[in-house]
């Protein structure tokens, strides 16, 4: 098969008389090839962009757990983060605010925001995770990757590693929730729970005029 670019397929002899009509069997394939490439471009561009990302989140089960079976969160390792209006973030160390003044105001800013607080709190475990990652050879096998993954989740789950309680107020947006879970991933925090505000916290927020 070949594509003929010239229009000279009619079987005419130069100068001479036309010797009757000789039908050419050759077809110009160029437009078909053009169309083919056009479609390829179209499909290539549409396929690569269609798969969205996902973020997995587990919520604490609503089923009643006996008082003795409940996991106790060490006061020193806990941090409570409250999502407020307009992307504001309030936080305090521990899982019960001692006084209203222990609630601090922060934001989602890349520096000077809640991330810095979390990074500082989780720092010892972040360096452990970094050390574990650096031990990995250049071309790790699947088994080595799996072992590393296990080791990291072990480090994140250590008893004294940071536990974060996420509490969203009614004024917050869905985006804020996704952002804070994202901070967890960035700061390598493995223990978290999305729970409701308690009355004490609500009262404290109202007292400080925070929404």
């Amino acid at each position: 098969m070949a594509a003929e670019l010239g229009g000279d397929g009619g079987g005419k002899h130069k100068g001479g008389k036309p010797k009757g009509k000789k039908q050419s069997t050759r077809i110009d394939f160029t437009p078909m090839v053009d169309l083919g490439f056009l479609l390829i471009t179209f499909f290539m561009l549409t396929t690569t962009m269609s798969k969205p990302q996902t973020m997995e989140v587990n919520l604490p089960s609503k089923e009643k757990v006996k008082q003795d079976d409940q996991t106790k969160v060490a006061e020193s390792s806990a941090i409570t983060v409250i999502l407020g209006e307009f992307g504001k973030v309030y936080y305090y160390e521990g899982n019960t605010p001692a006084v209203a003044d222990s609630i601090k105001v922060s934001s989602f800013a890349a520096s000077g925001g809640i991330r810095d607080v979390l990074l500082a709190k989780q720092a010892p475990w972040i360096s452990k995770i970094k050390a574990a990652k650096s031990k990995l050879p250049n071309n790790p096998s699947a088994a080595q990757m799996e072992a590393l993954r296990k080791e990291i989740s072990g480090i994140k789950g250590e008893k004294l590693a940071t536990t974060m309680l996420i509490k969203a107020t009614d004024n917050s947006k869905y985006k804020n929730l996704v952002d804070i879970v994202d901070e967890l991933n960035i700061c390598e925090i493995g223990k978290y729970a999305i729970v409701d505000l308690n009355d004490q916290e609500k009262a404290m927020l109202t007292a400080k005029n925070l929404k």
């Binding site: 798969k51 990302q53 009614d170 869905y174 985006k175 960035i186």
Partner: protein
């Protein structure tokens, strides 16, 4: 030239066969971004879509499961869906209306449906008329493998999303996948 054309058409065939088009969604949703690089699963997902105005839509995959789901839903709400209606339903995507409207909706033409979808009321989620809970429950009965996927808009108010979480948790689903778009991981 011949060889190139052959390769081109081979590629074309490959792309045509592998392409999966984005499912039709009645509302535009601007998903929040995250650093998570995990991809959304290919199948066995039931997706709840929550738009900016707080309307809730439901979608799940697998035509046979969808037919089964519609049958079960019909039984509960005493609506008899015909085989034709089930067939139409199995080929549709996202649904956002009270169950009572569904029979009429399934008998419309495609253009009428698109017209309706523009202003669809969403699935009722109030505690007195919690139809989303039924959708989730019967979907899980039809296919226990379904995983919960939540696709919300950035600016959706948290109470609506929380209500959706609560409904899922009522039906013993505690694991969620949030649909997000990719954002560069900051160096820390």
């Amino acid at each position: 030239m011949t060889a190139m054309t052959d390769v081109a058409f081979l590629l074309l065939t490959f792309f045509i066969l592998t392409t999966q088009f984005k499912p039709d969604e009645p509302v535009m949703v601007d998903t929040p971004s995250s650093v998570s690089e995990e991809k959304l699963m290919e199948s066995n997902m039931m997706q709840v879509l929550v738009d900016v105005k707080g309307r809730v839509f439901f979608n799940c995959d697998g035509p046979t499961y969808r037919k089964d789901l519609l049958g079960k839903l019909g039984q509960k709400y005493k609506i008899n869906f015909s085989e034709d209606e089930k067939e139409t339903f199995s080929n549709l995507q996202t649904i956002g209306m009270p169950v009572t409207k569904l029979k009429e909706y399934l008998n419309w033409s495609n253009t009428e449906r698109t017209e309706y979808d523009k202003n669809s009321p969403g699935i009722p989620i109030d505690s007195t008329n919690n139809q989303l809970a039924d959708w989730i429950w019967f979907a899980r009965l039809s296919n226990p493998e379904y995983q919960a996927v939540i696709k919300g808009d950035r600016e959706t108010n948290y109470p609506v999303v929380k209500r959706v979480f609560d409904i899922f948790q009522e039906k013993k689903v505690n694991k969620f996948n949030f649909v997000t778009s990719l954002e560069k991981r900051p160096n820390v």
